[in-house]
Symmetry: C2
Amino acid sequence: MKLNIGVLPGDGIGPEVTAQAVKVLKAIAMEFNHVFTFEKALVGGVAIEKTGTALPDETVEICKRADAVLFGAIGNTKYDEDPDAEVRPEQGLLGLRKALGLHTNIRPVIAYEDLLNKSSLKVKAIKDTNLVIYRELTGGIYFGKRHLSDDGNTASDVCEYQRFEIERIAHAAFKAAQSRKRKLTLVDKANVLESSRLWRRVVKDIAKQYSDVKIEYTYIDNAAMDLIINPKQFDVILTENMFGDILSEEASVIVGSIGLLASASIGDEHVMFEPIHGAYTKAANKGIANPIASILSAAMLLDHFGLDEEANRVREGVDKSLKLHITTPDLNNKYDHISTTKVGDFIEDFIHNPDETNLN
Amino acid sequence: MKLNIGVLPGDGIGPEVTAQAVKVLKAIAMEFNHVFTFEKALVGGVAIEKTGTALPDETVEICKRADAVLFGAIGNTKYDEDPDAEVRPEQGLLGLRKALGLHTNIRPVIAYEDLLNKSSLKVKAIKDTNLVIYRELTGGIYFGKRHLSDDGNTASDVCEYQRFEIERIAHAAFKAAQSRKRKLTLVDKANVLESSRLWRRVVKDIAKQYSDVKIEYTYIDNAAMDLIINPKQFDVILTENMFGDILSEEASVIVGSIGLLASASIGDEHVMFEPIHGAYTKAANKGIANPIASILSAAMLLDHFGLDEEANRVREGVDKSLKLHITTPDLNNKYDHISTTKVGDFIEDFIHNPDETNLN
Ligand SMILES: CC(C)[C@H](C(=O)O)[C@@H](O)C(=O)O
Ligand SMILES: CC(C)[C@H](C(=O)O)[C@@H](O)C(=O)O
């Protein structure tokens, strides 16, 4: 298969972790006789520094002509601390999601057997967790009208949803549930928000077409609690943009490190794959960033193109690295100095020699 | 002291738990020679059934002339399942918060030594947690304009904040931090929302007046994760309405049961005290509801009027009930059949005879 992949490393630890994912994809291409080409582009804080904007036109073009985009991370404490900055790294990511129409963000949350004891949650609470969050990605308060009054004393953001925006991700989520444990939980705040009531109405309607899927409705405050009391009760969680952001980062605690969570962002014409973690400016260039989330995002990319064996090979490599504790410090590896690159190298080696790889 | 207390039991388990709090307040009045009078009023689903509205005028009047209000819970699965209902129990609670101007909601989160093993979180992660959430309660998306288009295909909610709304709760939160561990964490989503950037700007400004308090800024997605990885890092969490709702319910996991979390809602002229849990229709009238959150809300009421010894007596009673496992089933008591009323009776007895009370 020929794939042209846009690579957007972005800020902070983005470049380091993305380099490992690219390394892994190159190994897969070599091993399975594919032709993957990579085209790099600027986004986020680095793009602001070089071009004055967080999302240069050229970047959008590169992404549009690519078969898939691999995204690193964006963000910079410099902007976080300055609420007055008009140009912000996040505009790169949000602009890209919108420009590419990436409405359906899929975030799997799987408790790895070998990492159960890394979590702040008890093993018995998280063991066997296997859920997936379907987060709407191009609507809601992330993309509504914003306003700041001239005197600077009043600020507002609008959370708006349209029926079709809910329908398309709901269908995707129900279909996913059908191939999984046949349960879907809609998370909203329908006891307060009009937009949530629209979600509940639309999803209730669509549920009729998926009578083999058990549907539950819950409020975001409740969900934030239930997710850590008993994550095993969930199969597919469907939710709007902001609630999905919160729940998925919270869910990383189940897995033991946010450095492990991958995601796929699917649109009608374009697809992008990105770790759910941020840029962690402070950790950049120290070789301590966990590349697994980025590598697993690459595996989701392979999934998307039906390259099942290839995706599995990557996941087996990840599993083996975890089992052998070839992990970065966020997972408290028992060997010293296992760097971002070392983890990538190990998984690359595994892809070439799945039966032989061991700690070298 | 003379206190006229408005009592709004509300829906579901509200009446059962509120009855225990009233019992406890009566015992305190008797033991410490105060005159507490109680005036009941309707709110929520029960008010809808009897009067057609979730917040009858009479209820607002009773609350306004009371020195303090004790609130139970509102909500009913009947309405939860019907996104089209125009009259909803929640309107009672939200309307009351607005009518009484209860802008500052204080939600303490304390890990009880005797309950550490009840949590799904590891003991070492939660031990010694003692934080408090300052949740803005009368602004934001809870009270912004809502809209549903005539064709029913578009719905929206506005999240708006004004400078003075942020200032008043920020001052309260900084003052609280000064009498605690001198740390304040502002939780927002300033990398996306204009209203959050206003929060960050205003709080940054106010922070200068509290130079003895260490201030940190974090995004809601990060906070939802950090809160359960290492809750001990927090002292005072300051946040807007919706984020406070989510974080505080999530934080209940630290304490072991949502049936333990109390709150105080403070306005310029009125005060209300309420458990953070909901109505749990399914648990109603079974004698299984945990009255501790309501009883601890009564303790916060006593605090508010400077009745420190009285409040302490209530808290000692609660501590003792926990130590002796006189607890409802949510805390897996080791004795059978310890009902809502039994827990209330135990704490009432303790108030009268603090040195003698034991399981009877
Ligand atoms: C960086 C930020 C704008 C982004 C979001 O909130 O969507 C991130 O937290 C994510 O989850 O992808
Ligand atoms: C019942 C509901 C409207 C309410 C809220 O969201 O504020 C509740 O969850 C709370 O936290 O007091």
